[in-house]
Structure formats: C-alpha cells, structure tokens
C-alpha cells in the first residue's frame, strides 16, 4: 500500500506547478491549463483522503469538481475564442480593457 504522504506530496507539487505557471505564463490557454492542473491536484488529495479514511464523500466531491471544471473549460474556451477573434491575441497583458 502506497503511503498517503506520497499522494499528498505529488498533489502539492502539481499544485505548485499550477500556481507557478498561472503567475508566470502570459498565454491565456497556458493559464487555463495551469488552473486545470491545480484543480486536479486538489482532486488527487480528495481521493487520497477518501481512500485512506474510507469515506465516500471525498470521491463524490471529485465528481463535482470534474463537472464544474468541464463546464468551466467549455465557457472559458468560448471566451478565449471570442477574445482571440476580436483582439487577435492571447496575451493576457494586452487584454486590459477594464484597466483604466
């Protein structure tokens, strides 16, 4: 049996990579992927704990997160396409219409 600490370390690493990418990258799609990475890092901790404590709730929560992430991906990609069509760029630093 794999100790739970391994799962948690992996999740932490994934989450940190997600945050780092989110903060560093300028491409909207890359930022989007880094968000997905953070979500899945959290999902990993959920299932790890659910398995460890024999609680079904954690696993159910993962499904919720996946459903929300799917919806978010659909909406997010639609927005990205719309932005790209109007502004011909995916660089977030140039998408600053509301920053006076």
């Amino acid at each position: 049996m794999v100790p739970i600490a391994y799962y948690l370390v992996l999740a932490a690493v994934l989450f940190s990579i997600g945050i780092g990418a989110f903060l560093i990258k300028r491409n909207v799609i890359t930022i989007f992927i880094s968000i997905e990475l953070m979500l899945n890092a959290v999902n990993l901790t959920f299932v790890a704990f659910a398995h460890r404590w024999h609680q079904i709730g954690g696993q159910i929560f993962v499904f919720f997160v996946m459903v929300v992430a799917a919806a978010e991906a659909a909406v997010g990609l639609a927005i990205i396409i719309a932005i790209f069509r109007t502004r011909r760029t995916l660089n977030v630093d140039e998408i600053d219409l509301m920053n006076s």
Partner: protein, 677 residues
C-alpha cells in the same frame, strides 16, 4: 349679549394664524379677490371677538382679569410655563388697537397693493403679524410674550424686506432684525433673572410676589431686571440708542409702516413697560432711566424730523419722537397717560401713514416732499383726512393728540421726579417741533405748486427708485385720487383722530378722564407710589393743569406759525435759513451722523474682528485646516491603496497565492509557535 367664554380668547390670535396658513401655502394659486377675502375675514372675526370681549369685560360682575384655560408648555421640577392667556383692561385697549387699526389697514392694503407682485405673500405676512401681535398682548407670562415679541420682529423683517430684490429694502430688514436682537438680548437676560429668582415667569406670580413683599428682592436686583427690560423695550420701540432701525424700516410698503412701524408693533415696548410696571415701581432708578431715554429720544428724533425730505421719513422720525413721549410718561409712572397716547397715536399715526401712502399713490410713487405741492385740490379727501391727522399730532385742541400729549406733559411736570420740570421743558419744546415738522409736511405737500418733473405727469418715466414702482404701470395719467377702498379707512381713522381723545378729557378741562379710570385696576398701585396722585391733593391744582395746557397749545401754534411763514408765506425763506445755519442744518439733515457713528465704532470693529481675527484664524485656520488635514490623510491612504490596484490579474493572483500561503503557514506552524512562546 351673553358674556364671552374665556376660552374663546384663543380664537383671537389663532384665526389670523389660520389666515396666514391659507394664504401662505395656497395663496399663490388663488385669485387676488380670494386672497384679500381670506386675509380680511381672518382679521375681521377677531375684531368682532374683541368687541364681544369688551362688552363682556365691561358688563356687571366681570372679573378684573379674565384667564383662558391653560396648557402646560414647559414643565420641569420647580419651574413651569404654560400657554396662558389673560385679559385685563390694559390688554383690552391693546386688543382694540391691534384688531381695529389692523383691520382698517388690511382694508386699505387691498387697494394699495392691488397691482403689486407677491400680493398673497403680503397678506400672509400681515396676518402672521396679527397673530404674533395678539399673542404678545394676550400672553399671561413673559415667555409667551417673548414669543409674540420675536414673532412680530420676524413679521416686521419679512415686510420691511417685502421688495427683497431691492438692496436697500433687504438691508433695512436685516438692520431692523439685528438691532432688535440687541434689545431681545436684554429681554432674555431679564427672563433668566426672573426664573432664577422667582422660579416662574407668570405675570400674576411674579408681580404678586413683588408687590406683596418688595423688600424681599433687593432694589438693585429689581433695578437690574427693569433695566434689562428697558433695553428690550428700547429695541422694539425704537428708543435711543436702538432707534436707528425704524427710519430705515420705511423701505417696506406704506401700509406696513402704518400698521407695524407706527400703530402696533413699535408700541410693544411701551406695552411691556406698562405691563411690568410693578417691577419698575420698585426701582426709581430704572424709572429715571426710562424717563430720560424717552425725553432724549423725543427731542432728538423731532429735531431730525424737521429737516427730512422724504415724507415717510418725516413720519418715521415723528413716530420715534412720539414713542419717546410714551417712554417719558412711563418713566414718570404715568402709565395710563402713556397708554392713552399709545391709543391716540395709533389712530393719527396710522392715519398719517395711510394718507401719506395715498399721496405717494397719487404721485405714482414719489416720496420726496420737495417735488410735492398743491395736492389739496387734486386729492381733496386725502387732504382733509390727513389734515385731521396733522392737527391731531400737533396737539391742537380738541383733537386726540392734544389730550394725550397734554396728559403726559402735565404728569411729567407734576411728578415727584427730581428733574421733572426739565423733562417737561424738553417735552414742551418737542411739542413745538412736532407741530413744526408736521405742518411743514402739510404745507409742502398740499399747498403751493406741484413740483414734479413733467415726466411724472405724463407718466412716461417711472424709473425712480421708489418702493411704489411695482404698481405704477396702470396709472399713466398723473396725479389721481386713491380708490375708495383706501379712502374709507382714512375717513374712519380721521374720525378717531378727531374724537378719540374725548374719552380721556381730564377733570381740569371739564371732563372726567374715563380713560384713566378705566385703567385704574391695572395701574392703581403705580399711581399711588410714584405718580401725580402720590402728591398731596393741594399740590395738584386744576389751575396748574390748565396753565400747562395753554402753554403746550401755544407751543403747537408757534410751530404751526413757523411752518406757515417758512413754507407758505415765504417759500424760499426755509432754504435761506438753512444756508445761514448751515452746520446745524447739515447735522440735522444727516441725522446727527448716528448711522455713520454706529458704522465706524460698532459695525466696522465687529467686521474687522470677524473678518480679520475670526475668519482668518478660526474659520480658515481651525475649521478649514482640520477639514483639509483629514482630507490629506484620507488622500494619502487612497494613494497607497490605489498603487495596489494595478489592473493586472496575475498580480492579484500572486497576492492571493502569497496570502493563502501565509494563512496556511500560520495554521500549520502558528499553533506550535504559540505553544512554544
């Protein structure tokens, strides 16, 4: 007729207030006829109530003082003030003057103001004035009297500044208000002293205590109260040194000058002194001050009135001078003589003002007597009625002014006051001056030739700055007699000016002085300690009274003769005389430079204090400075906060991550740190 229930007293002041509410709120949308109907109705009904009240109070078995049911107003431990009304014989006289003359002037105003802007506003204010004036005379305690006192001041302010778009009118209103505040300050202090000492402001309680045990209170203390009251009365009744507002108050419409600044409001100070005579009786010093102020004001204002050119200003200084007479009478404890003169003065001075208004109306707004003349044939009714007023105020027997003024002069002469003879002499000279300036007005206005420029007669140039401008467009055809609605009140007041004095013919002249006996219940105590009847009976001789009356008639005739010579027989001689006595003439014409003196010694230093010290240091330094400092602190914080809001989403996310990490760190390691510490 049934006697009037005491609680109906409340309707007397409240009905004009209802009229004020109606005209003041919806009057703007009502037709003029309805506005005047409302104003007249709500003045006529109280006048009828007053008549009913008279018949009640004169009926058999009527109480000396009629009290209306009261409601508590201010009630704290050990001190209570009620909404209390009471009527005694003094109040009856005041009520008759206020409602009677007030109603006549309302009627007159309907004609006089017919073409003016703000018609509804005028009548609303007039009714408001009636309300407060009636509260003033009906009040049974100092505080309610003070409410009326302040209220008439407010109405006066509003009506002086009725033509508020004219700078001089607005200034005059403000001046009246500010000068009256100085007097009110004295009144307030007097009330505070009364509260501290008596724990009550009710007339009956205060006067009862004072009269029963005068030795309990200390003469100095009562003198202090009396002098503070005198300050208040001097403000309201335009006495030295606070008289300066009244001549300027002539900026108001003429009916206002007649009602407020001649017949009623300015007599409030006299009424107040007479009402509080119990206090004054205990203080010979205060009485002396009152007498001196009165005599000084009488002669001072009369001398100014002799050389003024504006017809209303002559009457204004005349009013100040006559009020000085009333003060003088109060000062020698001849209260009933003061009230008698107040009554007759209300008749003839209201008449004179209304007639002057009719003259001004006839001349399409001209007020300068140098341009008047020859109006006798063109405005005959105005001429005859005004003549009644002029002869009455000049003291020609048997008109009203003769009896009342003579009563004052005689009582001054015969009073035990140490300088009574001197005061009498001043009063006598003033009587001569009064006669002179009134006949001067009379000759200049009604005799000789009309001296208006042709422009006035053709009615093409109405550019002159007079208060009556507003209503003149409809009278383009020169001199004209006033309409009947204005002449009616004139005629009634002329009758009263002729006959009004006959109720007070003294015994020496074959009368029985009903008036004085009528007021006996109110002033009996005063007369017995300070007045003429305090003297031995043999000192009061009818021969002396007759001789004094003859002398004052001679003074009046002398004034008449001087005016006749200077302004009728040799019209140019007045100017010559003025040229020869140039310094004196200029001093008089410039009103002794009192306004200028006040301006440079009181107003300017105050302005310098406020502008130089208070505004610079306090207003700009403390008030503005603290505001600016707090604004700067806020702006500093805002500057710092704004720097954090870059609009860059990734920097927000960075802060979010750092924050989350910090929270995580505290939750993970903080507890163990806490335990170790």
């Amino acid at each position: 007729m049934n006697s009037m229930p005491a609680n109906y007293l409340w309707y007397i002041p409240l009905l004009p207030f209802v009229g004020f509410l109606i005209n003041g709120t919806v009057g703007r949308r009502l037709p003029r006829g309805l506005v005047s109907a409302v104003a007249l109705l709500f003045t006529a009904v109280p006048a009828c109530l007053v008549a009913w009240l008279w018949s009640t109070m004169l009926g058999a078995g009527a109480p000396e003082v009629l009290h209306a049911a009261t409601r508590p107003w201010i009630a704290i431990t050990g001190f209570q003030v009620d909404f209390a009304l009471a009527v005694d014989h003094l109040t009856l006289i005041m009520l008759a003057v206020v409602t009677g003359v007030g109603f006549l002037i309302h009627v007159y105003s309907v004609g006089y103001m017919a073409l003016e802007e703000g018609y509804w506003r005028f009548f609303a204010y007039l009714n408001l004035f009636m309300f407060f004036m009636l509260v003033l005379v009906l009040a049974e305690n100092f505080l309610l009297l003070f409410v009326g006192w302040e209220g008439v001041g407010l109405a006066s302010y509003l009506l002086i500044g009725f033509y508020f778009h004219k700078q001089s009118a607005a200034d005059a209103g403000r001046k009246a208000f500010v000068v009256n505040r100085i007097g009110d300050f004295g009144f307030l202090l007097a009330m505070f002293l009364l509260i501290v000492h008596f724990g009550s402001l009710s007339f009956s309680q205060v006067f009862g205590t004072v009269a029963a045990h005068p030795e309990w209170h200390g003469a100095a203390f009562l003198t202090a109260i009396a002098l503070l009251l005198v300050l208040g009365a001097a403000g309201k009744s335009a006495q030295i040194p606070l008289y300066v507002w009244l001549p300027d108050a002539m900026e108001g419409p003429t009916p206002v000058s007649a009602l407020i600044h001649a017949a009623t409001m300015v007599t409030a100070g006299i009424y107040m002194v007479a009402r509080t005579h119990v206090i004054f009786d205990q203080s010979p010093a205060a009485l002396m001050v009152v007498a001196c102020i009165g005599a000084a004001t009488a002669i001072f204002a009369a001398s100014i009135g002799m050389v003024q050119h504006d017809i209303k200003r002559v009457l204004a200084y005349s009013t100040v001078s006559q009020l000085g007479y009333m003060f003088l009478a109060c000062g020698v404890a001849a209260y009933s003589a003061a009230i008698f003169h107040l009554l007759t003065h209300a008749f003839f001075k209201a008449l004179l003002f209304l007639a002057a208004g009719s003259v001004i109306h006839a001349l399409s707004g001209e007020q300068d007597m140098r341009k008047m003349g020859g109006l006798r044939s063109r405005t005959p009714i105005t001429f005859w009625t005004m003549s009644a007023g002029v002869f009455a105020i000049a003291g020609i027997p048997p008109l009203a002014g003769f009896f009342s003024k003579d009563g004052i002069l005689y009582q001054t002469f015969a009073s035990p006051n140490p300088i009574g003879k001197l005061l009498w002499l001043i009063g006598l000279i003033t009587a001569g001056m009064t006669s002179f300036y009134m006949f001067r007005l009379w000759f200049k206005t009604f005799f000789g030739e009309l001296r208006l420029e042709p422009a006035h007669n053709t009615g093409q140039a109405h550019a002159h700055e007079s208060e009556h401008d507003e209503g003149q467009a409809a009278h383009p055809h020169g001199v004209h007699e006033s309409p009947w609605i204005m002449l009616g009140p004139l005629a009634i007041l002329a009758l009263l000016s002729v006959a009004g004095g006959w109720i007070g013919i003294p015994a020496a002249l074959g009368g029985s002085n009903h008036f004085e006996h009528f007021l006996d219940p109110v002033f009996a105590s005063a007369a017995s300690t300070h007045g003429v009847s305090a003297l031995n009976a043999d000192q009061v001789s009818h021969g002396l009274e007759l001789a004094l009356a003859a002398i004052s008639v001679l003074a009046a005739l002398g004034g008449l003769y001087a005016a006749y010579v200077l302004y009728y027989r040799k019209p140019g001689s007045a100017t010559e005389l003025a040229m020869r006595a140039r310094p004196l003439y200029e001093t008089l014409e410039n009103k002794y430079w009192v306004d200028e003196l006040y301006q440079s010694f009181i107003v300017l230093p105050l302005l310098m204090l406020t502008r130089g010290v208070l505004e610079l240091i306090f207003e700009r330094g403390v008030v503005n400075g603290s505001g600016r400092a707090s604004a700067m602190v806020t702006r500093g914080f805002a500057w710092f906060a704004r720097k954090q809001i870059s609009g860059n989403i990734r920097s927000y996310a960075g802060w979010l991550a750092i924050g989350a990490a910090a929270v995580l760190a505290v939750m993970t390691f903080g507890r163990s740190l806490w335990v170790h510490l």
